[in-house]
């Protein structure tokens, strides 16, 4: 693999780790592991842990994919690897 492709892949992996960390934190963290703690707080009539588990995490999933798409489209252009 030549140098620029290697660098492209490294940056891609960094994006993945960053986005998947958020994915894990919101769903498994806020929605499951610390749900009781977050349930102590209220947001718009919802206990917060419950909101994360049944609403918030899904919204975050959608946003994560679109952010990834934007980041990758930019990266493809920067390394001249787009189609």
């Amino acid at each position: 693999m030549d140098h620029s492709k290697k660098q492209y892949w490294q940056i891609n992996l960094r994006y993945l780790i960053f986005l998947l960390a958020i994915w894990f934190f919101i769903s498994y963290g806020c929605g499951i592991l610390w749900a009781d703690f977050f349930n102590e707080f209220q947001i718009a009539g919802f206990p917060l842990g419950f909101w994360f588990a049944q609403q918030g995490s899904i919204y975050v999933f959608v946003v994560l994919i679109f952010v990834y798409v934007i980041l990758m489209n930019r990266l493809d252009k920067r390394f001249d690897l787009d189609e």
């Binding site: 693999m1 492709k5 492209y8 892949w9 891609n12 993945l16 986005l19 998947l20 994915w23 769903s27 498994y28 929605g31 499951i32 592991l33 749900a35 009781d36 349930n39 947001i43 718009a44 009539g45 919802f46 206990p47 842990g49 419950f50 909101w51 588990a53 049944q54 609403q55 995490s57 899904i58 919204y59 999933f61 959608v62 994560l64 994919i65 679109f66 990834y68 798409v69 990758m72 489209n73 493809d76 690897l81 787009d82 189609e83």
Partner: protein, 574 residues
């Protein structure tokens, strides 16, 4: 009245699907398998969403959540979060790889016919269990609302799917699914909006479930109180062991990302960047239903308790009686006082403190959770055309998923088994004919199985996800992200992951462990064991691959090639 509306609306939607199918029929294998690789990402997102959301998502999920409360989150997160994994870790690379099927990738990446055959068998098993459930859903919807015998309902459903799947292949299915998505999402959200306005005077159910009731108490606080008063746990708090909630959610997510009928959708778009974005569109379209469902669950649960709790049976509303005739709802006056007592009779302290002093002799209501979505508009007294719409939506959900699965089945047979293994010299015309014949046979077998549904359909679905998580997911991920991964590693990982997961599920669902949750490994239920199976697979695969020779050079080059988007081209058979 309801019947006239139902016939009209279901009839119109069926004509629509048939019209779309005729307009978009397939002429080549490429059109038949991957819709020619030219589907616009937004349309592909819609089709994927319709493909993904089955009769279970549409009819059963909200009902399930309304009885599980917080713990129902495992389905909501589990069946959406997998799309993040798909978009980030699989879809773009598999699209760049540019073949028709998942077994294609496994077979070439691990340079082995054995690996391909294992993948084909898994794909067939997973798809078949799923499709049977869809056919059953079609039969139930027809028999309840059109007063047709259950069997006739199944036959009508089979005939429709047969027509457009055989004719159109992936191309016909994709465009029909776009229409079906529109029908099902409209049918799911309209009643939810109506009920939200009725109960909390807010038109958006996602916000309405957090709003205040007319008397000033918050809806969720009220529901928590109602639940506790009847001996259930608090609706908005987790009840199951946290590790089980964690593992079930993970198994569903990993399974989603490993299911062949979902992955194949990303072969239908023109470019790698389209594969990424169409996963985003798919999840957005899915999220509309998945964020509405928990609101429907809250509304339905509150409505149900208010309607039946301590009510005199003689004054029960008419919807109750019409569901009683189906046998899915039953009242048994155990203490003979003529009133309905509905409470948690598995809760010892509640029985001792509340039930016995009041002379209650057990909960008197048996409710099939599956009826909640269908009965909900009736419970809320919505107009007849809304109820008809829900029936059409349920049918759209079942038919679209069935069609997608049937395509995977026919592709596995005509492409993976015949073209790539048994008869490599077959012409395209013959391959297309075989694909059509195998889809036709598959529809008929699925229809027959739906007509005589085997028990344990739900248990088998857990099986499908667990196995997909424990077999396909690690093999695909490692195939892309670990260049050093070789055939012995991947195959031993898949085999050990499969055996571990399958034996755990069989033991606790069909064998000696039935009814013994205290024997669970670390409190993990069979639904969640796929997560442990996945980790086992991953570890075994990595260890074995490091102890054996690296994969051939051309395979390593293939891995490097799929990591960059440029040069994807059209999907090809060769």
């Amino acid at each position: 009245m309801i019947q006239t509306w139902t016939y009209t609306i279901v009839g119109i939607t069926f004509l629509l699907y048939i019209g779309v199918a005729i307009w978009s029929r397939a002429g080549s294998t490429k059109e038949f398998y991957v819709a020619g690789g030219g589907v616009h990402p937004v349309l592909n997102g819609m089709a994927t969403a319709a493909d993904w959301m089955s009769a279970a998502s549409f009819l059963s999920m909200a009902g399930l959540i309304s009885f599980m409360g917080f713990d129902g989150s495992q389905y909501l997160m589990g069946w959406t979060g997998g799309y993040v994994l798909l978009a980030l870790l699989l879809a773009p690379y598999l699209r760049k790889f540019g073949k028709f099927t998942v077994p294609d990738f496994i077979g070439e990446r691990y340079y082995s016919h054995t690996a391909r055959i294992v993948a084909v068998v898994c794909a067939l098993f997973v798809s078949f269990t799923y499709v049977v459930g869809q056919m059953k859903g079609v039969g139930v919807a027809f028999s309840r609302f059109l007063n047709m015998p259950f069997e006739v309902g199944v036959i009508v459903g089979v005939a429709i799917v047969f027509f457009y799947a055989v004719l159109g292949g992936m191309k016909g299915i994709t465009y029909t699914q776009v229409a079906q998505y529109c029908v099902l999402i409209f049918a799911f959200t309209v009643p939810a909006v109506f009920i939200s306005i009725q109960m909390v005077d807010h038109p958006i159910p996602q916000i309405g479930m957090g709003a205040d009731l007319p008397d000033g108490t918050a809806l969720l606080a009220k529901l928590n109180q109602l639940s506790i008063d009847l001996g259930f746990h608090e609706y908005t708090s987790p009840d199951k062991p946290r590790i089980d909630l964690f593992c079930v959610t993970a198994a569903l997510m990993l399974g989603t990302a490993g299911l062949p009928h979902v992955i194949v959708r990303f072969f239908t778009v023109p470019k790698v960047r389209d594969a990424r974005i169409s996963a985003g569109w798919a999840l957005l379209f899915i999220a509309i239903l998945y964020t509405t469902a928990p609101a429907v669950a809250v509304f339905a649960r509150t409505n149900l308790i208010n309607t039946v709790d301590q009510v005199e049976y003689a004054n029960i509303p008419s919807w109750f009686k019409s569901w009683e005739t189906t046998g899915l709802l039953a009242f048994e006056d155990k203490n003979g006082d003529g009133h309905i007592q509905y409470y948690n009779d598995q809760n010892p302290s509640f029985i001792q403190e509340v039930a016995e002093p009041n002379g209650w002799k057990g909960s008197e209501l048996t409710i099939d959770r599956d009826i909640m979505v269908l009965a909900n508009p009736e419970i809320a007294n919505l107009p007849a055309w809304v109820i008809a719409l829900v029936v059409a939506g349920g049918l759209a959900a079942a038919l679209s998923t069935a069609a997608g699965l049937l395509l995977v089945i026919s592709t596995s047979i005509s492409h993976d088994l015949l073209k790539k293994w048994l008869r490599t010299d077959i012409t395209e015309r013959r391959e297309l004919l075989t694909a059509r014949i195998s889809i036709a046979v598959a529809v008929i077998i699925a229809g027959y199985a739906g007509y005589n549904p085997p028990d344990y359909v739900a248990a088998i679905v857990a099986f499908a996800f667990g196995l997909a998580a424990a077999s396909f997911f690690p093999a695909l991920i490692l195939g892309i992200f670990d260049k050093r991964m070789n055939m012995p590693g991947a195959v031993s990982g898949m085999v050990i992951g499969l055996i571990f997961t399958a034996s755990y599920i069989i033991y606790f669902k069909f064998g000696g462990g039935v009814g013994h949750p205290e024997q669970y490994l670390w409190n993990i239920s069979p639904e969640g064991i796929g997560t442990i199976g996945m980790l086992t697979n991953l570890i075994v695969a990595i260890v074995v691959s490091r102890l054996t020779a690296p994969p051939p050079l051309e395979v390593q080059e293939l891995v490097e090639d799929i990591r960059v988007p440029r040069g994807a081209g059209k999907p090809s058979a060769h």
